[in-house]
Amino acid sequence: MGVLDKLFGGGGKSGKGKADFSDVKSGSSSTAPSAPSQGGVAQSRTYTVVAGDSLSKIAKREYGDAAKWPRIYEANRDQIKNPDLIHPGQVLNLPREG
C-alpha cells in the first residue's frame, strides 16, 4: 500500500486515490408538486466537478449533447470565469431542460 492509499483510504476497487464517480446518474421525484420557480429561474440540481471534466463533457453526460455546455456556463457565471477552466470540487448548478 502506498502513501496515496493511506491518504485517500484506498477503499475503492482501484485502490488508487479518489474513486471515479464521473458517470454517476441521479434523479429525484416527489409526491409533492414542484415549488414554483422564483424569478424565472428553472429548477436545477448540482454536480461536483471531478478531474478530467469539461463543460462539454458534463453537458454530453447530463443533456446528451455536448453543444449544450453554454447552458451550464450561463447558470454558473458567478463561479466560472473561463469556460475552458473548471476545477475538481467545484459544485455546478445544472439547469433542468425544458
Partner: protein, 150 residues
C-alpha cells in the same frame, strides 16, 4: 424617602409593562395563525429517511436495505411533514472519507405528508465501501443514512 418610593414605583411600573408586552407577543405566536392560511417552510420537518433498492408507486421504499451490490440503483426516500410553498430538499451522497458522489436538490411545495425520493446509479458499477446520504432541509442537515456497497 418619598423620592425613593417614587423611583421604586416607576421601576415596578416599567417591569409590569415589559412583562405584559412580552406575554402578548407569546400569546400571538402560540396561536400559529398567520391569518393568510399560508404556512412557512419552517413548519416542514423531515420525519424519516430510508434507503433501499426499489420503490413502490407511492415512492416509498419496498426493498429497504443498507447493503447494496455494485450494479444497484440506490434510493433515498425522505418523508416530510408540514407545509411550505418553497421547501428545498437536498441529497448529498458521499463515499468513505467524504468524497462527494453526487448532490441533488429538489424544491417542493410541501403540504401535509409528502414523500420525496432521490436516486443514484453508476453504469460502470459502484466501488465497494461505505457510503452515506445526508438529507438537507432548506440547507440544514435533517437526517442521514449510512450504507455499504459489497
Amino acid at each position: 424617602m418619598s423620592i425613593h418610593t417614587y423611583g421604586m414605583a416607576r421601576v415596578c411600573g416599567l417591569a409590569f409593562i415589559l412583562l405584559a408586552s412580552g406575554c402578548g407577543k407569546r400569546d400571538a405566536a402560540s396561536t400559529g395563525d398567520t391569518g393568510s392560511g399560508a404556512a412557512t417552510s419552517a413548519a416542514v420537518r423531515v420525519a424519516d429517511v430510508k434507503v433501499g433498492r426499489a420503490l413502490g408507486a407511492d415512492k416509498r421504499v419496498t426493498d429497504e436495505t443498507d447493503e447494496f451490490r455494485p450494479s444497484d440503483v440506490i434510493y433515498a426516500v425522505v418523508e416530510t411533514q408540514g407545509s411550505g410553498a418553497n421547501t428545498s430538499l437536498q441529497a448529498r451522497w458521499t463515499y468513505q472519507d467524504g468524497q462527494v458522489v453526487d448532490e441533488s436538490t429538489r424544491s417542493i411545495a410541501a403540504s401535509g405528508e409528502d414523500v420525496t425520493e432521490f436516486h443514484i446509479s453508476k453504469p460502470s458499477g459502484w466501488p465497494q465501501g461505505k457510503y452515506k446520504v445526508e438529507i438537507l432541509l432548506n440547507g440544514a442537515t435533517a437526517g442521514s443514512e449510512d450504507f455499504e456497497i459489497k
